[in-house]
Symmetry: C2
Subunit: 327 residues, 2 copies
């Protein structure tokens, strides 16, 4: 298996992508990594580590896409970026997948335009993991499609079911439509049309509300990318906010060092379900290839886990199964 | 000051509305309460308590609006409900405001149709308090208008500013537009049109993201009622979910009773900002009267705090100030 890694993506490049790649080759057998990025920069970081040299190669991509670059212009203005070259490499069959903690919009655009859409898919989507009392569940769409249509919602749900079943090990993933109330007929005309469309799915459980997400009442929450993005970022902000609130209280309380350690341990373990590092990232669903995107702040372990996601998607033939699932 | 209280609203009527009313007359001078609900039921609960009898009156409203009744039919089918009669009482000038923990949709419909809209307001709205590191802030709209237009968004922001200034004591409330990115131009065409409209407000700080809400980066977050409702209910579910996560960890850990008490104390105090009971409820903004709605599960203290909100709105002449603020 050959996975290409964006060595110029994310807030901590080239260090974190390279450290993540090194973790990955230690953990996964038969894996070769192509590091795509400015050659000298990558070489300089890589030379500081010991590793099995035959398993890591560098592909020069001198241009760097910034996190603020717009999807519409970055591909034209920076044709030699790590994203453009990495996805092209994948298109040409030189690797099985591409992994990036870089600019999501640019990666999505590159994946759609260079790799193309899977047969029968009207719009590719990006899902996000969301924490719950029973582990991560999926919210689709997480920002790729700010407005959605009923046909798109149905395809999102079907693609999400393939992913949840194959990669997350959820046998019959329940699909819920995020809405303002549980009863059929709640919400806008569009939400009602989506509801009717989703009824084609046997494990569609109907409307779900904001309070159901963390329970979790469904395994896949269908919504538009505006909602998905805001809810995702709100969730990501929670651990930091809660730690601050707890810390403020601790400072006001007299306690022994032993008690403080206990509180800190309980809290950090209780908040572990909110730790996005464990999953790293998710592939775009519906593109003709394996293109995994992760958080800009990804740690080396998060990058390693993104590489794992790419490997899993290839080994489980996710795309073939998505094509077969489309009604 | 005379405030009418829906004695047949919420999940725990008539008990909680009545206990809340009794708390209120103890705490606030010169306050008379009209309890609106099925007379015998209300009388039976009320007779179990000692109170200053001249300060609480009962108005019979034999029909009860259920939490699942639709706004469109409940007013026609149940003309003698506590909501219909309470709002009519207010319209006729027999009380200064009406407070209910009952069906939000029916109360909004009654408030709009019976009280009418304030001069110059295109659509009344409902705001929600949202917790943050610096106390509660406002999200508008919280579910009254699932789809919004730029003119509506501007009026929501102006009404929210009057409320935040007068009732929450925030001197120059910052207005943010909830979006998928910070830069101008992010989001849908509609979000861009709203952005341009909101630029008329001097303290408009631009787009804000999901991660900014709990910080808080703004004092008033403008969004549509679909987003507001989902984010509100997600926030309401958080304390329970976090308590479960902490409890699960504690059970797996060996600890002394003293340590357990310490963790529980720190935790419940740290989560206090998420406690909606402290605020009780919010008035509909833009209706020609004072109509305060609270959570169905409102405790007596939450009901008392809703009565306080109604008193504050009247004393601060919120509606006159809203009319004066509209551009």
């Amino acid at each position: 298996m050959i996975i290409a890694v964006d060595a110029a993506g994310g807030d901590h490049y080239p260090k974190n992508p390279i450290l993540g790649a090194l973790e990955a080759i230690k953990e996964f057998d038969n894996l070769t990594i192509l590091l795509v990025g400015p050659e000298k920069l990558v070489q300089s970081e890589l030379s500081q580590h010991y590793y099995e040299q035959s398993r890591i190669q560098i592909l020069d991509a001198p241009e760097v896409v910034d996190m603020t670059d717009s999807a519409s212009s970055a591909l034209k203005q920076k044709p030699n970026s790590s994203i453009a070259k990495g996805i092209a490499l994948h298109k040409q069959g030189h690797c099985h997948g591409f992994v990036s903690a870089g600019n999501t919009g640019v990666l999505l655009a590159a994946s759609m335009f260079i790799l193309g859409k899977l047969e029968g898919i009207s719009r590719p989507t990006i899902a996000t993991y969301y924490p719950s009392l029973e582990g991560f569940r999926l919210i689709i769409d997480a920002g790729a499609n700010l407005e959605i249509k009923p046909e798109m919602a149905l395809q999102f749900a079907l693609m999400g079911q393939v992913y949840a079943k194959e990669i997350m090990g959820i046998e019959q993933p329940r699909v819920g439509l995020l809405n303002v109330g549980e009863e059929e007929g709640k919400g806008t005309e569009l939400l009602n049309e989506i509801y009717v469309m989703l009824q084609q799915i046997p494990s569609f459980i109907g409307n779900v509300e904001g309070r159901d997400i963390l329970v979790p009442k469904a395994d896949i929450y269908i919504t538009d990318g505006f909602m998905g993005n805001v809810v995702l970022k709100l969730g990501e902000s929670l651990p930091g906010i809660l730690k601050t609130l707890v810390w403020q209280k601790i400072k006001q309380t007299s306690s022994t060092p032993e008690m403080l350690r206990f509180v800190q341990q309980i809290f950090s373990e209780a908040l572990a379900p909110f730790d996005y590092e464990r999953v790293g990232g998710l592939p775009f669903l519906g593109v003709n290839g394996t293109s995994v995107v992760g958080h800009g702040g990804s740690s080396p372990t998060a990058i390693k886990n993104m590489i794992k996601v790419a490997i899993d998607c290839v080994e489980h033939s996710i795309n073939d199964k998505i094509i077969a699932s489309i009604i």
